[in-house]
Symmetry: C2
Subunit: 710 residues, 2 copies
Amino acid sequence: MSSRRGSCVGVCRSSLAMFRLILLALSILTTAASSHPHPLDPLSPAELTAVRAAVLASPLISDRPLTFHYVGLDEPDKTDVLSYAEARSSSSRAALPRHAFVITRAGGQSHELRVDITNATAPTVLSHAIHHGAGFPTLTLDEQFEAATLPPRHAPFVESVRRRGLDLDDVLCAVFPVGWFGDAANTNSQKKGQQRRVVKVMCFMAGETPNFYARPIEGVTLVVDLDRMAIVDYKDRVVYPVPKAEGTDYRAGKAGASYTRHATVPDVVVQPEGNGFHIDGHFVSWANWEFHVGFDMRAGMVISLASIHDAETGARRRVLYRGFLSEIFVPYMDPTEEWYYRTFVDEGEYGLGLWAFPLQPGVDCPANAAYLDGYYAGQDGKPVQNKNMICVFERYAGDVAWRHTEASFPDKLITEVRPEVSLVARMVVSCGNYDYILDWEFKTSGSIKVTVSLTGLLEMKGTDYTHADQIRQDAHGTLLAENTLGLYHDHYITYHVDLDVDGTNNSFVKNVITTRRNTNTPGSGGADTPRRSYWTVSREVAETEADARVDVNAVPADLLIVNPNKKTRMGNEVGYRVVPGALTAASVLDDDDYPQIVASYSKKQVWVTPYMRDEKWAPGLYADQGTGNDGLAAWSGRNRGIRNEDIVLWYTVGLHHIPCQEDFPVMPTVSGGFELRPANFFERNSLLKTRPPRFGQPPFLNCSCGSHSG
Amino acid sequence: MSSRRGSCVGVCRSSLAMFRLILLALSILTTAASSHPHPLDPLSPAELTAVRAAVLASPLISDRPLTFHYVGLDEPDKTDVLSYAEARSSSSRAALPRHAFVITRAGGQSHELRVDITNATAPTVLSHAIHHGAGFPTLTLDEQFEAATLPPRHAPFVESVRRRGLDLDDVLCAVFPVGWFGDAANTNSQKKGQQRRVVKVMCFMAGETPNFYARPIEGVTLVVDLDRMAIVDYKDRVVYPVPKAEGTDYRAGKAGASYTRHATVPDVVVQPEGNGFHIDGHFVSWANWEFHVGFDMRAGMVISLASIHDAETGARRRVLYRGFLSEIFVPYMDPTEEWYYRTFVDEGEYGLGLWAFPLQPGVDCPANAAYLDGYYAGQDGKPVQNKNMICVFERYAGDVAWRHTEASFPDKLITEVRPEVSLVARMVVSCGNYDYILDWEFKTSGSIKVTVSLTGLLEMKGTDYTHADQIRQDAHGTLLAENTLGLYHDHYITYHVDLDVDGTNNSFVKNVITTRRNTNTPGSGGADTPRRSYWTVSREVAETEADARVDVNAVPADLLIVNPNKKTRMGNEVGYRVVPGALTAASVLDDDDYPQIVASYSKKQVWVTPYMRDEKWAPGLYADQGTGNDGLAAWSGRNRGIRNEDIVLWYTVGLHHIPCQEDFPVMPTVSGGFELRPANFFERNSLLKTRPPRFGQPPFLNCSCGSHSG
């Protein structure tokens, strides 16, 4: 394990405050520690420590070693949380019990525990169960780092390295989940019917470059049994040249001179009047929005209880109970031995919170950002601090929220413009080679925009090819550099979005754009005019889950989550529109292919399910070697009623990635996502009440600044 | 005509410099006037004046009055422009001849002229022709304002107003093109076979609100013959209440108090080291980009000769010969008498350049923007200045161009991040009620992102309804307020993108994502592994135009413009990818419906044609009452060869708009567009050479600023 993660205990134990807020120059932040945690606050270091103590002290699990694979908040019932939230202005509201949900491994089994930590000095285990189904919990960082150290001590591997003329000192290995390929492939031959907890380990040449993904020792596969921490299978199937290190380093100063022409000077964003947002504990309030930013070691950032102030009525109205990234499914498209199994479910296998690293102030987030830390349980159960894990900032991109110029009056030109300033909560996950920049953006219009930006490094395959002309059969990718293929792959980033539009019970509506022939008959919608056709809206309210599986590319339709129990003054059902943005690919794998069975939800971008407390993870709770039998498609298969129920929207952002040379050695960002826009939620445009900015004089004209050239 | 537009002559005549650049605080701009115009420079005031003189002096048109409907640059042959551009570093390059293309109306006919203005003191008419086909040129502003003044002097209209109990003093009228609905509908009954140049005039109640679109005098239609400037038809078909003015005013201070909670403070973007871009005449250079920003009274902003510096080779490489917005098609979906004809082709009918108004510094564009003026010919042929018509600014939205955190090394955590700073050229068109914010964004990665953001006011329909429960039949829209319907409609924003990827001759390639069954047979692309399927790329090179009509929602495919004559060192054809962004709707009108015949291109987002100098306008040169017989679909119907030819990409951004109450009284911005991303154009990621920003210390920490609270 890297030193970065190893020694947080001092920091964690010394502080009662759950998060430390970074006070930036010219930023005004409220750094208040709540007297007791909000029911949705993530587990504090003290609470994580209490969980560990209770589990280790429990007689329910006697096997040792015992490793912690998941420790997270076991959320109170939604009704209790909502009651708590509604009483938030009252000083008399009582704290809810604090429970943790825990998955440990011990004695070759996965154990699920619920621990009461309401009194962190006297934690108690409430329940214990052993998971007998398919799949395993998230891999710990420690066991991955340990497994990665095994190959250089494995004689056949040393021989493979020697035979290739490589320097063993420069070898760096990484852990790859094996995926699930049917019971025959995943079952332990000794213990019939029981899956082996194994991973593949692939090795690379680091040495002259930190970009080892560009230098695979292609053809060599090791299999490590994690429970025994031993190599159980070894293949050296084929030898390809290791691509050269030259040109792969992405660090500043290693990539040659910058532009000789006018260099780009990044803007500096400053706010002379201070940040417009306030953070109180985990609650962020800004403009007309208020929401809770939490953290989970699997999901990463979690947005909860987002509500908006309605300027018309003065009321605070609920929009989102909880939103988080549920899974990132990344299948590669090369069926060969070293690649066929690379069908990652990153979040379930690796844990987004575990792979979220400190954001770099001023570059990962602009200078006006505030930062939040996160805490998770290490393999030993001890709290680990994840510093600067989330940033919150006001975003101004030079865009316009609304405008109009009216030129029809003969004596005056009216121009009204409101710049678009929004609030962003951001986390970045570096899940091995790929980096995902994950934004939740709140707009004063009432819109919530969810954006995922993909960057980082490609996973690259070694090859004999040094020129595209040599390629005679399907190479499953693009030749990026000598001996280097960037393989075809997909990304399916699935969000769990529990909208509660102005209340808990909602319906899912498809307003299908439908062409009509002009009948020339008034009364039927037609008219006696030369127009021959028009479109109208066919409203379909989803009764059950089957009605709510939508391919957004197939039929033009407006998709809405509405509250059928609330109407505007005009009589329209209050609602939010689900607006697909860029990246709407759906999986094209065969339905009977194993990774497609695991992530069968990836064939539709939109699903709607009734809210169930434990239906969180799209491929199921146990995603490593999971079979999908406990996932989104399986739940939806029950075809439950979803009309006027507490419902959850699942939205998948999808990308077919055909690599190109520009993706080498590091990928320019590609962004996509979706937007949740109010649609008849307000009586009128809520931005109307936004004040125009005060640009009476050029800003900073009278500045005398000493550090400009810094 | 409004005073705003009437008296520019003094300004225009007094200056030889074609554009004045606004020097902002802390911005460093090069304001250089070229010694002679670039061949793609728009016509200067002096040139416009010369055109007018030549046309009025010409014996070829004797009829008077003579009105100018289009005056624009008659571009030199592309080969000449390219030769000129390539010689640009040489001081000896000779100026190309300067020609103007002109459309006038005189004697009830449309006249086309070409005028030589190389010597602006002695302009000569080179050619003259009379247009005998269908359709009319762009409406002038003067004739629209004049036509709009006719109704209050028309006795039947005055009676209609009186009968509704309205105040004639508050009536404001606007001009609506009649569209084309077959020869029977559009032909003058007196002159067989000849179209009448007519418009419809619809009237509204302004008075208490500038948002007159929200207060239609529904049911009353006037038809004005523009050549006679007389009302030739009048209908008062049905009476609905005029919606009330209350709640429709969007001006600051008219919409009630702002948020009582934390007010949003817009960021201030400043650049202590000055702008990173330089403007020389119409040429913008920034980072690795260089391009020409022109202007046309029909197209608005025109981007030409965009080329990028290749840091690897030191060469400047061509990307885009010319890009501009070709048409905005906006059909409404109500077949009734007052609405069926509202099937706007905004650009051809109204002219985007004519309806581009001064950008508001600091709100339409951020504080670090520079501004360019535009000049067009008024109806009388005299030059009119369009001040602050285009802005250019560096954009920093807090986003990341690329990043990676590498956590696999046991002793160090590597994090490299480059913020995304791009350059935006922006124009805003307020085409009647709608506002279009039109951005061309250049990124250091080599990407060009084209974004259109829609805002402004809805066109609203009067109705009896005051509550949705009263609606019993298809209302063709949403009830937004009492007596106010927001009607269903579409927007199809079509761009002409003449990419010249690393040279003039290019091909269009569809890399279709194709599912393959794993044959378990190495050699066929399969492998002996449990994986059952994967996808690969089926490469289809378009031979003719028919191969290049693409519905981007139908089949997953990477679309590329490649140069088959240039390959990377790795052997990949150099190319640019066409990446659809948000808003990919296609028209669903019946093929035989008249507006669909005019804009039949709106059923596919992507078309590719061979470059032809005069194939610019998607619905044809004469769009007002045009029949589409001279438009994109007609040209493409010739099915010409496009492989390894000089080709043009046409991309349509599409939106089905179902209005909601939030669109009232002013619409929050909705954005969509597409991106042109280099794909094997460079040998590697060109952003690698971007320097990381210098954030050694918080910016402005030592500032002593006097105007912060201003």
